[in-house]
Subunit: 341 residues, 2 copies
């Protein structure tokens, strides 16, 4: 087994020399209210175990999402949520379904369980074939990143509901990037107990370093998942920081607005440079190029101090996935690209 | 499946009303250097992903432990380490061996994998029967809490080495409490690649709220375990805090000294009250009582505002596991006990 390989992280000290547009981090600092909340917990001491169920976060999130707190499970990043769900539903010789190309971790999680992967290729327009909802005897869990990575595209909630209605197993809709999108699948959770929605504070809340994510599912599902998670999977600082983050709606709106505006400008500029930039609902843009090989461009950008993610897929070719940075970072990247294509 | 049930945590607000001697937390605040290190990271921002391998911690820990950094795997608390090791070594229908009574999580981890439990009872003097090292065809992993909970006793490193030599599978020596003990199994790791040592910063470093633990094993073992862990399992704050914690040896020595001194005084007083207090190498004391039922004592202590852990085991009876608090906390508990037995 190969294991999942995360995006490059420059070693400490070298990080400042790079413009990092490769792991979809938020280019802005988190809300000052998050820093203050963490500071208060640090000052009060860390010798006690944290609340195993992150109740403070769940109460505030429930108000904002319009569900009850027992519909929410918190995790050490949404990767922890994906791990918990996989361990709860999937055993050796079972099958996990996911779309391709998408988040590579789904395959790793299936392989760790000793399960088979049922991989459904996206259509050329990044819609999902009906095959994704087709029942079979072995499938125990389906993953759908929505918005998807690397494409930044979304399957409409109505299509997700339809696929889920024919699936014989739960489907985890991975909404890591949904705060940058026009729509989401949250309301489907109440309609169908096979639908679960996972979210993270890493991207839209600029808290990748804090590790906090959560799942919304019906209470009888959450109850079973709690048995599988590590008892104290969220630390006291991340619970306080995450609660303060979701409480600061104004910060989210402003930051999201800035990133979406930069994304639209960036997409237009990349299209002008000849990339087949895919209109994005996330904080990155997927850029294949019909006539210019992109791997050398990735290398040259790196040499010039700009990290983007080069990705190659057997069935759909290669491309650059460029995260939306600040306007200055994006302009620096675009200027370099202009000199290369 | 029932799932692991952690010790009681009073809900926020009520916590201050209790003297908490039930989950083996350190009664003292962590080193001020830990708070300062966390504060620096918070100020510099949390929008970037943390170092997936917690390199800064591993470099400093390696110096202190006398190994190379690639002998160390970091986790979100040592529970994360136990989970990673179980997922790496144990599949459906395999077998996990552990001693009884001990940390209840070992059973839960085996059950989540769909594995069988091979439970070996401690001898009456808390030594381990040779049976613990006996090979069979199904066993894939053995757990040994050392010092053990609830007993606070240790199996000597020489005995651990001997049991490991006959075991056909890896053994994880769970040294969560080892900083309060006179000896440890660290040096065995280099002698036998089946021996792994897990540690946590929750107890001796007063950082239960931060979630940080680590494993020491031979590099070829660590390499495989890395494939199973969540990519970013340790957050940026815990990596910085944990590194500062292990760097402050003076704080550790002073705090450990205070806790061990209180423990010895507490053990003597409990013995005088008629408890069969077991001499402890940890930061708690296991207290069965030959003539007085202890469950009502647990209840009465709780009503009086002192939380201890009541534990009952089918094969070895019941008792109170009392964490070593500050001298004031322990005196309050002892005064109450005096009025009850």
């Amino acid at each position: 087994m190969k294991g999942y390989v995360p995006g490059e992280q420059p070693v400490a000290g070298a990080a400042e020399k790079f413009i990092k547009l490769n792991t979809n981090e938020n280019p802005y600092q988190c809300s000052p209210k998050v820093k203050a909340a963490i500071g208060r917990v640090v000052q009060s001491g860390l010798q006690k175990y944290p609340d195993p169920l992150a109740t403070a976060f769940r109460i505030r999130a429930a108000e904002l999402l319009g569900v009850d707190p027992d519909w929410i499970l918190c995790g050490n990043g949404s990767d922890d949520i994906l791990t918990i769900v996989t361990r709860a539903f999937v055993g050796t010789s079972d099958m996990v379904r996911f779309a391709n190309p998408s988040y590579l971790l789904y395959r790793t999680l299936a392989e760790i369980q000793g399960a088979a992967c049922d991989i459904i290729n996206y259509n050329a327009d990044w819609s999902l074939p009906a095959e994704f909802g087709k029942p079979n005897d072995w499938i125990r869990l389906a993953f759908l990143a929505n918005p998807n990575s690397p494409s930044g595209t979304m399957v409409p909630p109505s299509a997700v509901a339809e696929l889920a209605s024919t699936l014989p197993c739960p489907i985890l809709v991975d909404e890591a990037y949904v705060d940058f999108a026009d729509t989401n699948c949250l309301s489907l959770v109440a309609e169908n107990d096979k639908i679960m929605v996972a979210r993270t504070l890493s991207k839209s809340y600029a808290l990748a370093g804090l590790r906090f994510g959560y799942l919304v599912a019906q209470p009888h599902v959450i109850r079973e998942l709690r048995k599988v998670k590590d008892s104290y999977n969220c630390d006291a600082l991340s619970i306080a920081g995450a609660t303060a983050a979701i409480d600061d709606g104004q910060w989210l709106n402003e930051t999201r607005g800035a990133i979406v505006a930069t994304r639209e400008r960036m997409t237009a500029a990349l299209t002008e440079l000849g990339f087949d930039a895919v209109p994005s609902q996330a904080n990155f843009v997927w850029c294949p190029h019909a006539s210019v090989p992109v791997e050398p461009i990735y290398q040259k950008l790196k040499q010039a101090g700009v990290l983007v993610r080069y990705m190659r897929y057997p069935d759909c070719g290669d491309g650059l996935r460029i995260s939306v940075g600040t306007d200055e970072q994006v302009d620096a990247c675009l200027a370099l690209l202009k000199s290369m294509v």
